[in-house]
């Protein structure tokens, strides 16, 4: 028996860790302090940078079910709520935890413990100088979102006409001993501002900030759109917020162009930072883990003690996409210590197409409803759970069932787990009890069942083979995990060696060489060098690739594709580069000695990025420049270093590096007007106009290092696979919760997806490998409950349904000239049925004839 994994905390990171562990066949116990699962995610009405909701997207198998139901229904997940932890002890083989849940003491012995307790929003009453806790119109940002959303939902106008957002409340603040940056506050403030602006463009919004840190995928564009919509961004620290008693309005005091300015607002919103709860700090103390907020990294390793892991915002302040990936990456560490145990179901087979005997079940309905149903359907049986249905089906030899349930989505999830209570998948109909025309719908459902033609579905067999396109770091990391899990991997690499760009960076050489060695030694991994994917056909489970190498073109059948084509340093796009004295930071390590001997060095950030024609932030450059500058200064304390920047985006605990750099005398100069780099005979000259003070600086540095970032290397692969890109970066299925999934059967990780740090690329690669592995490890895909079907007699092959399918479950059978449905992939949305004019394409549950009848009965 596999020992369970205990996950403490059920926010986004905790749940996504738990789901992926559970899907891999490892029992999971979720301990949640509060009454409900989900953390802060469900409280957020809209998500940046898409301004969409997205709660329904969280399951590993999405598009599927929402996290709360999913956690409850998953056979491998046990949930405890209202938990308080008493004691944690770790030992060589596992962890022991004592806790009370709903007041009852429990003790569990698990193989590992994952702490994903996340954060608490900063208590604004600790900042009374900003009006926090003093005035009712000074809001904490989290509450303000509820407030505005309620108004928007009811289409009421906003009473606050002039709103100020104050950033970094509880972050980057030494006075209250919170030196780190909380990473996501800039983005949520912009989101709220945009929500308000979209709803009512006349509301005046100002955001007071130090640096805008919109560093994630597509975030810069989001930030720019906010500027375009007239949201004012004011770079200034706010000194105080005071209420004027006569008007009730708020006076915000700040410095503008060097002089103190006062402005009146109707409301002030404080962008609260992330704070680690005191009980967690105590827990860490008990576990003998040192917590120092002034270090550049809070935890040295994700596994803080043997068998105890931290993940999510506790590990490092991060937003939702990163939390999701972080949770899965943590799961991957635990999964690789076990193995994946896939779920095996045996689909029920039937001899006849027609349903003969139908049972009617009332599942979890109240007595009043039971009586109503029994007046017309006296044979209806009242049951407590699906086990009772299964028993009744066996006893009464039912071969069809109408189940009236008060929670249709939960029931349909459980049905799948219970293998449809011994019934054929097409002979179960669910009827929601919450329905004004319940009796009519029950009779319509019975009719529907009588007409249904059941076929025996064969699960779609997989050969558990993945093709990884690109043998850089991301590809190698994924290959390693997949290979360990016994999944066959083919790495297709364009160049003549594995390793990609990291081979050019000395400090990373060992890391990448270790992975290469592992991959080359693993029997499950095949490596094709000097090869390219020329053509792709098919879908999840049956992709057919044409792989071209120097010698030949070969055909390859794989289940899934992973795109890890990585990036190329943006060298040639930066016009000022001459390679000798002006070069990109990518070459920094190779020329470190040479540079460190010089007197003066200038780092120019955002070289050719965050401009009008390239509104991309390459995320890593700020930290890299700061770290490089510190390294130079350590080697040669005499060296003068200037960092020219637009915003310094050292988010999370890297903020401590930024502070350290400033303390070391490294000078930071903010520009908005492009600095000039001039060459006069042998001398270099840099002219820059400082933002804010408007003073001009001219330096004569020996070296200028340009931070230009990495371009994604996706042009070819995007065309071959037919996937969309933005600024060259691959578009995911869902930017918020499904960053790694491109479409059904195509995954991606690494720099081709978004600019990222090496550590984060590894994290993504591990996470995506888990997602692929849990899908393929079972070696078969089962037919789902609600699917579409095609009547070949009526299909005329217009391909509208193929275009309409959101999950690529539709394909053309060119031999028969008809469209077909891959039932193992179909999610049953019915979009294909709607576009089909003559209903050659229909949905099993919403069959046309049945629907017309239902409507007929409903009108009554």
């Amino acid at each position: 028996m596999v020992k369970p994994v205990i996950v403490v905390g059920s926010g986004f990171a905790g749940l996504s860790c738990a789901f992926h562990l559970a899907e891999a066949g490892i029992p999971v116990i979720i301990l949640e302090k509060k009454e409900k699962l989900g953390g802060y995610f469900p409280q957020l009405k809209k998500q940046f940078p898409t301004n969409s909701c997205g709660v329904c997207f969280m399951h590993p198998d999405y598009p599927a079910y929402c996290p709360y139901i999913e956690a409850e229904r998953h056979e491998n997940i046990t949930v405890y709520t209202n938990v308080s932890i008493q004691n944690i002890e770790n030992y060589q083989e596992g962890v022991n935890i004592k806790f009370s849940a709903d007041g009852i003491l429990n003790e569990i012995d698990g193989q590992a413990l994952v702490i994903a307790t996340g954060y608490e929003p900063f208590d604004i009453s600790m900042k009374p100088d900003l009006g926090g806790g003093l005035y009712e119109n000074v809001y904490p940002a989290l509450n303000f979102e509820d407030h505005i959303y309620d108004l928007i939902a009811e289409n009421k106008s906003l009473p606050q006409r002039k709103i100020a957002y104050i950033q970094c409340v509880g972050s980057r603040d030494l006075k209250i001993k919170r030196p780190y940056c909380s990473s996501f506050c800039c983005m949520y403030a912009i989101k709220q501002a945009l929500l308000i602006k979209d709803f009512d463009p006349d509301v005046d919004i100002s955001i007071f900030y130090m640096d805008i840190r919109s560093f994630g995928k597509d975030y810069e564009r989001y930030y720019l759109s906010a500027r375009e919509k007239g949201i004012k961004f004011i770079r200034s620290a706010v000194a105080s917020v005071k209420k004027r008693p006569s008007t009730g309005k708020l006076e915000v005091l700040y410095t503008k162009d060097g002089s103190a300015t006062e402005e009146t607002f109707d409301a002030v919103v404080l962008s609260q930072g992330a704070v680690i709860e005191k009980s967690i700090l105590d827990l860490m103390k008990k576990l003998d883990v040192e917590i120092d907020f002034y270090k550049p990294k809070l935890f040295e390793d994700r596994e803080i003690k043997r068998n105890i892991f931290v993940t999510g915002t506790l590990y490092d302040p991060m937003d939702i996409p990163d939390s999701a990936i972080d949770g899965i990456a943590t799961a991957s560490k635990i999964i690789s210590r076990n193995m994946i145990t896939p779920k095996i179901l045996a689909p029920v087979k039937v001899k006849t197409q027609k349903v003969a005997k139908i049972g009617i079940f009332l599942l979890g309905c109240d007595n009043r409803l039971d009586d109503i149903v029994r007046t017309r359907f006296s044979e209806a049986l009242k049951v407590k759970d699906l086990d009772e249905i299964q028993y009744a089906v066996r006893e009464n030899k039912f071969d069809g069932a109408v189940i009236i349930t008060d929670d249709i989505r939960k029931t349909s999830g459980f049905l799948e787990n219970k293998n449809y209570c011994g019934l054929h998948i097409d002979s179960v109909v669910l009827v929601p009890s919450f329905n004004n025309a319940l009796l009519e719908e029950i009779s319509a459902s019975i009719q529907k069942l009588r007409q249904v033609k059941r076929n025996n579905h064969v699960p779609k067999a997989l050969n558990s083979k993945v093709c990884i396109i690109g043998g850089g770091l991301a590809g190698l990391v994924s290959a390693k995990f997949l290979g360990e899990m016994g999944i066959n991997v083919v790495i297709v690499e364009k160049e003549d060696r594995l390793g990609g760009r990291l081979l050019e960076i000395p400090s990373r050489l060992d890391l990448v060489k270790n992975y290469i060695k592992y991959v080359e030694d693993n029997k499950n991994i095949e490596i094709l060098l000097n090869s390219k994917v020329k053509d792709v056909e098919g879908r999840l489970g049956e992709y057919i690739l044409q792989i071209e190498s120097k010698e030949d073109v070969r055909k390859l059948k794989v289940d899934a594709l992973l795109v890890t084509t990585g990036g190329i340093p943006r060298k040639n796009v930066v016009v000022q580069e001459d390679g000798k004295r002006v070069f990109t930071i990518f070459d920094f390590e190779n020329r470190f000695d040479e540079i460190s001997k010089s007197k003066r060095v200038v780092f120019k950030q955002c070289a050719g990025s965050r401009t009008e024609d390239n509104p991309v932030c390459y995320k890593v450059c700020c930290k890299k420049a700061v770290m490089s500058a510190i390294a130079l200064k350590n080697k040669n304390p005499e060296i003068e270093i200037f960092i020219l920047h637009k915003d310094i985006r050292t988010y999370g605990f890297s903020e401590n590096l930024y502070r350290q750099a400033r303390a070391m005398g490294i000078q930071f100069i903010r520009y908005s007007q492009e600095p000039e780099i001039m060459r006069e005979s042998e001398k270099l000259k840099v002219k820059v106009l400082e933002d804010g003070t408007n003073s001009e600086f001219i330096f004569e540095p020996e070296y200028v290092l340009l931070s230009s970032g990495m371009n994604p290397n996706t042009e070819e692969v995007a065309e071959v696979l037919g996937i969309g890109t933005t600024d060259g970066f691959i578009n995911p299925y869902n930017q918020k919760t499904g960053l790694l999934d491109i479409k059904n059967g195509i995954y991606s990780a690494g720099l081709c997806l978004a600019p990222n740090y090496t550590e984060d690329v590894i994290k993504q690669a591990e996470a995506v490998a888990v997602r692929i592995a849990i899908k393929l490890a079972g070696r078969q895909l089962y037919v789902k409950f609600n699917t579409a079907f095609v009547n070949p007699k009526y299909c005329c092959g217009c391909e509208l349904c193929v275009k309409a399918c959101p999950v690529s479950a539709r394909y053309m059978d060119y031999e028969e000239k008809i469209a077909r449905v891959d039932e193992a992939l179909c999610e049953g949305c019915g979009n294909c049925a709607m576009v089909c004019a003559n209903k050659a394409s229909q949905h099993k549950v919403f069959e046309h004839k049945g629907m017309l009848k239902t409507i007929d009965l409903m009108v009554g």
Binding site: P42, K45, T50, N51, S52, C53, G54, V55, C56, F57, P63, C66, A153, E154, I408, R409, P432, F434, N435, N436, A437, Y733, N786, A804, P806, V807, E827, G828, C829, G830, N831, A833, M834, V835, H843, V845, F846, H848, M851, L852, T854, I855, D856, M858, V859, G860
Partner: protein, 140 residues
Amino acid sequence: MSDFEPKIIGFLCNWCTYTGADLAGTARIQYPSNIRVIRMMCSGGVDMVYVMKALLEGADGVLIGGCHPGDCHYQSGNFKARRRVAILKKILQQLGYNEDRVWLRWISASEGKKFANTVTEMVEYLKKLGPNPFKYTGNI
């Protein structure tokens, strides 16, 4: 016509509006019982034939509920539905039939209150409008 109680058929998307309606039910937010709900997986799966069928059979109004633009669980079902509904409404309008008997509304899973408000509003509107002309004619 003061005692006229309009009948509304609601085609609600499983992910957003149906959950919203469910929330209205569990949170005991009051709304008129004139609506009869048919759960669809996605607003993009609501065939306009269903809407027309409901109207021809005498339903006084049809409410199609979907996720907010951009929130569709199936990426773009609601956008497709919006086009379909636009076409249907234009046709009805051209034929001199009050196209406002068909409502397309975006109601998310957390907007139980909005669902209740929408139904209340729709019932009031339909009461003012009077019964569907198809209600009493079989000559169609």
